[in-house]
């Protein structure tokens, strides 16, 4: 029988039962590989459930540093009888199945084209521990110990990770180390160690960090100066607000008084949450809310108010599978249109598309400057794949000389000096008016904020010319937004390319890998990663420079393509959609397959050159 052999390049998938304590053991496994200098990219595939339903943890070991999901499984750690059949089926031919053989299973439950590695985990646990919870928890550590022998993970690295995790908790440290060696020793003695899949120390991790996107967003909000956060729990965004609480507790206390330089309110719903954030933004505090698609739907009326009354506020949308309740624990990029045009009437909002936790940090911090400069709601469009998975990424960086851009604030001094204050007056030609904060001046600068139409001096007006004047200024402001947003990132092909590809957000790691694979296959494509909406003019130029441009997205309806066509006025015939929307993260294999198929169908020689 063929056996897959690979060094530092394979996929291990853990099939577990939710709530069995497997998550921390599996993360320990992933971290130990990182500590050996080998990049890994783990993904949680979990149900909307607390206990009992199946959950998976997929670790891609990738010396080359490809952090997208690869697809396929080389080693299955099958710990969940409920999903056994499908788990076994998913292993690639020549792959490996690690399982608990405490109880005999009929032969029909196995395959003959894979290597079986049975270990009596339950038996070992029952013989060693009497407490049922310990039996459960240490079973996970025992299999990590066995895997360390099977895959040649350095046990010292695992011990070091334990000692960091259980600093000052000697008893816990000792019992975990004991369980680790229990598994490792059994494997060395009884199992075919090492397997064809194995690890070799490398030096490919560098100074990179291992963070999830939601924590990175929260940290970005701390560094970006957010002082008011209002939120309502919703998967997959809840951990944004929870991480913000954690970071604020550590970093935002007043040393002298012990009081907090922040306010966090768990609202009664998403409507109240965005309302609180808008109230705070109106009154000059940097404020945000974090939510997911269903929350955006609920917030849309308020988003229109903030757009029309011109109030800075940041919304973090950790996208999940829609529509309706959809797939709460799966990933998609399907809120792009809902956010770009959120609310009734003619509305448009700036969107930011981070590709990984590092950009979650950077763009969230930056979003507060953008929101205050533009006096409008700004959306940070992340998703479950980035938000809830730990990802290897560049370390967070901050420029200590940086001052926050508080935007155009009309001050007491300027009012005293006789400035002509019109809340909706375009003094500088960029569409952005000046605003006063409540309480600025005893007799000047007060105005009435409203969602109804008004003239340049904030007086109620339903007159057509006033309305048009205001709406056109808002368009100018939106044009100004282009220069404030993160610019697209171009990846030029090594050889001249007639095809282009546009992608964004969490598609990035799979795309990088796909472009490498395609280049190896002789297919050269220029790629542009879009990082903000409204799109920079460069995006239109990019499409014009290619005979065809792929737009790769994780939604059914080609939502970014719709924006390119309607907002950048790009001819839709020039755009070819590549859409992945089953709720799993897009893979390089999928992109390579789709692009190759399209390109051969279009023939490699573009028509206009052939004629």
């Amino acid at each position: 029988m063929n056996q897959i052999s690979a060094i530092n390049d394979f996929v291990v998938k853990f099939a577990n039962v939710n709530g069995s304590g497997s998550a921390s053991a599996n993360e320990l496994f992933a971290r130990s590989i990182l500590r050996m200098g080998v990049p890994v990219s783990p993904r949680n595939i979990f149900p909307s459930n607390i206990q009992g339903l199946p959950t998976w943890y997929e670790v891609r070991v990738t010396e080359k540093g490809y952090l997208g999901r690869r697809g396929g499984v080389d080693l299955m750690v099958a710990m969940n009888p409920q999903t056994w059949d499908n788990d076994v089926k998913e292993i690639g031919p020549g792959g490996y199945l690690f399982y608990d053989n405490s109880k005999p299973l009929p032969e029909s439950k196995f395959r003959n084209d894979i290597t079986l590695i049975g270990m009596p985990l339950t038996e070992i646990c029952n013989a060693t521990y009497t407490d049922p919870r310990q039996r459960q928890l240490f079973k996970n550590i025992i299999y990590v110990g066995a895997l360390s022998a099977l895959l040649e993970i350095d046990p010292k690295v695992l011990e070091q990770l334990f000692s960091e995790q259980y600093k000052g908790k000697e008893a816990l440290l000792q019992s975990n180390v004991k369980a680790l060696h229990l598994g490792r020793d059994y494997a060395l003695k009884n199992l075919p160690c090492p397997l064809g899949l194995r690890l070799k120390p490398a030096n490919n991790v560098g100074d990179r960090i291992f963070s999830d996107g939601n924590s990175a967003v929260a940290l970005g909000a701390v560094y970006g100066g957010a002082s008011v956060c209002a939120w309502y729990p919703i998967t997959p965004s809840s951990s944004v607000a929870e991480a913000f609480m954690g970071f604020c507790k550590k970093l935002r206390g007043d040393a002298e008084t012990g009081k907090n330089k922040y306010a966090i309110i768990q609202g009664e719903d998403e409507l109240a949450s965005i309302g609180i954030a808008i109230g705070a933004g109106w009154n000059g505090a940097r404020s945000f809310t974090a939510t997911s698609g269903p929350g955006i739907s609920l917030m849309t009326e308020f988003i229109g108010l903030a757009y029309f009354a011109e109030i800075p506020v940041v919304l973090v949308d950790v996208q999940r599978g829609g529509p309706s309740t959809g797939m709460p624990t799966r990933t998609q990029q399907s809120d792009v249109l809902a956010c770009a045009y959120a609310s009734h009437g003619d509305t448009k909002h700036p969107l930011l598309f981070p590709e990984d936790p590092t950009e979650c940090f950077e763009m969230t911090a930056q979003s507060f400057d953008i929101a205050e400069r533009l006096q409008t709601p700004v959306f940070v469009m992340t998703d479950l794949d980035i938000g809830m998975n730990t990802r290897l990424c560049r370390p967070f960086k901050w420029d200590d000389g940086k001052e926050y851009d508080r935007g155009k604030l009309m001050t007491y001094e300027k009012l005293e000096a006789g400035a002509d204050f019109g809340r909706y007056l375009d003094v500088d030609g960029d569409g952005i008016p000046y605003r006063t904060l409540p309480g600025t001046h005893p007799t000047k600068g007060g105005y009435f904020t409203r969602g109804t139409t008004k003239n340049r001096y904030a007086l109620y007006s339903e007159a057509g010319p006033d309305y048009i004047d205001n709406m056109q200024r808002l368009m100018r402001k939106f044009e100004t937004a282009k220069s404030l947003l993160p610019q697209p990132v171009l990846r030029q092909a090594a050889k001249p390319a007639s095809f282009g590809a546009i992608y964004y957000g969490s598609t990035s790691p799979a795309m990088q890998e796909a472009l490498d694979v395609l280049a190896e296959n002789g297919v050269h494509i220029n790629a542009l990663r879009v990082r903000g909406f409204p799109f920079a003019d460069q995006v239109k130029d990019f499409v014009a420079a290619h005979s065809g441009t792929f737009v790769i997205e994780q939604n059914r309806d080609a939502q970014l393509k719709t924006l390119l066509v309607t907002d950048s006025k790009i001819n839709p015939a020039q755009l070819i959609s590549v859409l992945h929307f089953d709720g799993t993260p897009i893979t390089a294999r999928f992109i390579v397959d789709q692009l190759t198929r399209h390109i051969s169908a279009h023939s490699v020689v573009p028509l206009k050159k052939a004629s």
């Binding site: 990179r208 309110i265 808008i278 109230g279 940086k402 904060l437 409540p438 309480g439 007060g446 009435f448």
Partner: protein
């Protein structure tokens, strides 16, 4: 309503309060509500209360939702920032504004449609949180701006102008405010300025969630026979439990009451409120007794008014979440950004 704008110039002989403002400085734009609307009387009472308390108008933020009542902040305190938000959502916007700057005075103005129907949830939760504010519901039992539909506070059995009898139970906002932890709860009548002005003053000085339900007849759609929110009905059924004689530190007590007729409530922040008792058995500091009293008397069809409940040891949201004394909107990068050394530590913990 009138189309005749008052001249902006003030007569030099107009008297000024201790903050240096005349009463006219507390006025706003000309009201666009119907002549005789109860809401305009409430606006006048707010103006009077702020003037008498020497409040600097620009230190007030006035927030409202949508509806006739929510238009009124445009008609008083013209130099204050106002925010006419979305229907039923004023409480959340006010909460956020209050979080951003704890130093201003927050005045929320709403109606019975805005607070008892679409905004019931937000009304409830801002009371629970103890947001430091004055929350006035201008309660007329009817949707005026959309021409006469029943609101959720319309009494069961009351009749609309079109002759329809309301079959739904009314929503009791006072009862809800009491249950949800409001620490200053009052009811008044727009037509009784003598009662209303001190109640607004007391609410302004109170720390925490202060709620005033003001029955305010809708002259156009709910002032007919068969309505329980008409001028006539309320005048006939109004039963005040007390009269608030607000005491300020600098104000001498001039009125003379016989012993036993008054009770003084000392608040935690040092201020004191003196209440002249009307119902001798009424104790406005006992939440449970108050709820019982209101249920008993309400069942007899009485409209109980006065300072119904006060918690002298009230707290507010900022105390609950322990925010710094400096308003959050005045903190800059120095206060808010932890800088590179802290970030390096975080990076190190993620390797």
């Amino acid at each position: 309503m009138t189309y005749l704008a008052k001249p902006k110039l003030h007569h030099p002989s107009l008297s000024k309060n201790q903050a240096g403002y005349t009463r006219r400085d507390y006025e706003g734009k000309i009201s666009t509500l119907c002549a005789g609307c109860g809401h305009d009387s409430i606006s006048a009472s707010i103006i009077q209360a702020c003037w008498e308390l020497d409040i600097q108008p620009h230190r007030v933020a006035k927030l409202s939702g949508i509806g006739c009542s929510s238009k009124t902040p445009d008609y008083f305190l013209g130099n204050s920032h106002g925010f006419n938000s979305v229907h039923g959502r004023m409480p959340s916007v006010l909460t956020g504004a209050n979080l951003a700057n704890r130093d201003l005075l927050y005045l929320g103005v709403s109606g019975d449609g805005d607070s008892a129907s679409i905004g019931l949830g937000q009304f409830a939760h801002c009371m629970r949180r103890g947001v430091n504010m004055v929350y006035i519901v201008e309660n007329n039992g009817v949707y005026g701006l959309t021409k006469g539909q029943f609101s959720a506070t319309a009494d069961k059995g009351s009749k609309s102008k079109r002759g329809v009898v309301n079959s739904d139970e009314p929503l009791d906002m006072i009862g809800m405010a009491l249950l949800l932890g409001a620490t200053y709860v009052a009811r008044s009548f727009s037509g009784d300025k003598k009662q209303l002005v001190p109640l607004i003053k007391g609410a302004i000085e109170h720390k925490g969630a202060a709620f005033i339900d003001v029955v305010s007849p809708c002259i156009a759609f709910n002032n007919h026979a068969g309505s329980t929110k008409s001028y006539e009905y309320v005048r006939q059924h109004n039963e005040a439990v007390n009269r608030l004689d607000f005491i300020e530190d600098h104000e001498e007590i001039t009125a003379d009451y016989a012993p036993g007729e008054t009770v003084t409530v000392h608040q935690h922040d040092g201020s004191a409120l003196r209440l002249k008792k009307i119902a001798s058995d009424y104790d406005a500091t006992d939440r449970v007794k108050v709820m019982n009293y209101l249920q008993e008397h309400g069942a007899r069809g009485e409209v109980i008014t006065g300072l119904l409940y006060i918690d002298p040891d009230s707290e507010d949201l900022h105390e609950h979440i322990n925010t710094v004394d400096t308003p959050l909107n005045q903190l800059g990068a120095k206060d808010l950004c932890p800088g590179t050394p802290a970030l390096e530590k975080i990076n190190a913990s993620l390797r």
